[in-house]
């Protein structure tokens, strides 16, 4: 079949020769089949998924960071209170830690007389001494009981 020879084409542009059939077959093979549908975009506004609810912690309550923080603060306050109480100078005249009954500039802290049951013939006493803004001095005296 000679493609160069122009076949007669009618007013509608149709011709029935081999080239036309081949071209029709070619172009139809190029067209997608089945013809894809057009997917209309969804009209609904995008809904953001709800944020997942955080699962409750499985740690014991006393291991909660908040509890630890609160406990730390409480211990700090208690320690401060204890230290303040220990550093408060005694006001009683019968306080044996005062020398000569006279007023002493030194602030004597709490005396401690712990007793060791294992050593009944020993006794000791300890106290804290603070002179103004100087560092606190710890005094411990040990003596045999008479």
């Amino acid at each position: 079949m000679n493609f160069v020879t122009r076949p007669p084409i009618d007013a509608n542009g149709h011709a029935g020769d081999e080239l036309d059939e081949t071209l029709s077959a070619f172009f139809r093979s190029e067209m997608p089949r089945p013809w894809p549908q057009f997917k209309v975009p969804d009209d609904r506004p995008a809904v953001r998924p709800a944020e997942p609810v955080p699962l409750p912690s499985r740690r014991p309550w006393f291991r909660s960071p908040r509890f630890v923080l609160a406990a730390s603060v409480a211990l700090l306050i208690a320690g401060y209170a204890a230290m303040s109480a220990a550093l408060t100078p005694p006001t009683s005249a019968n306080d044996p830690t005062l020398n000569g009954g006279g007023a002493s500039p030194r602030g004597i802290l709490r005396e401690m007389h712990p007793k060791d049951p294992a050593e009944d013939d020993l006794d000791f006493r300890g106290w804290l001494e603070q002179d103004g803004n100087k560092p606190t001095t710890i005094h411990i005296e040990m003596y045999r009981k008479k």
Binding site: I9, N12, L23, S24, F27
Partner: protein
Amino acid sequence: MKPSPRAAGSRHADFEALYQRYSREVWALAYARWMNADTAMDITQEAFLRLWKQWEAGEPITNPRAWLLRVARNLAEDYAKSAFRRNGTSPPQTMNDVRGDDPQPVEALEREETFAQIRDVLGQLPEPDREILTLRYALDYTTNDIAEMLAINATAVHMRLSRARQRLAERLKAQGVGQLP
């Protein structure tokens, strides 16, 4: 004012009808530009998507067909620019000639061979020739159909179609495609 669900459904149906009516024309123009069926379909889908957005925005379009064809041509040119940016001066590679490993009948192989040669020759023709040939043979449009679509008179269509067909036949012969399977 938000459209009622019934109005939205009607709009969808209208748009679907528009798509069924003009999508192949848009595809044909894009295919004539790039000689690639997948690229042409991408351009077609994008053109209709833009039309849909225009509808959603409430912007009236008096002639959707002309609007779609104009947008498709612009999109095809935009695709050309981006392809040049990616590939330089070489055209994008197509997969049309890839064959599978399964044995095919001889007639099918010869047919594919002929189609590959036709595709190659069509790529050498000017775009207006490809356009009119695609409309004629892919969509089976008459001369009047093509004239209406391209906004030219039927005589001009007839002349352009004859010349395009002649050029195609000469080049096919030059490549030795004289016998059809």
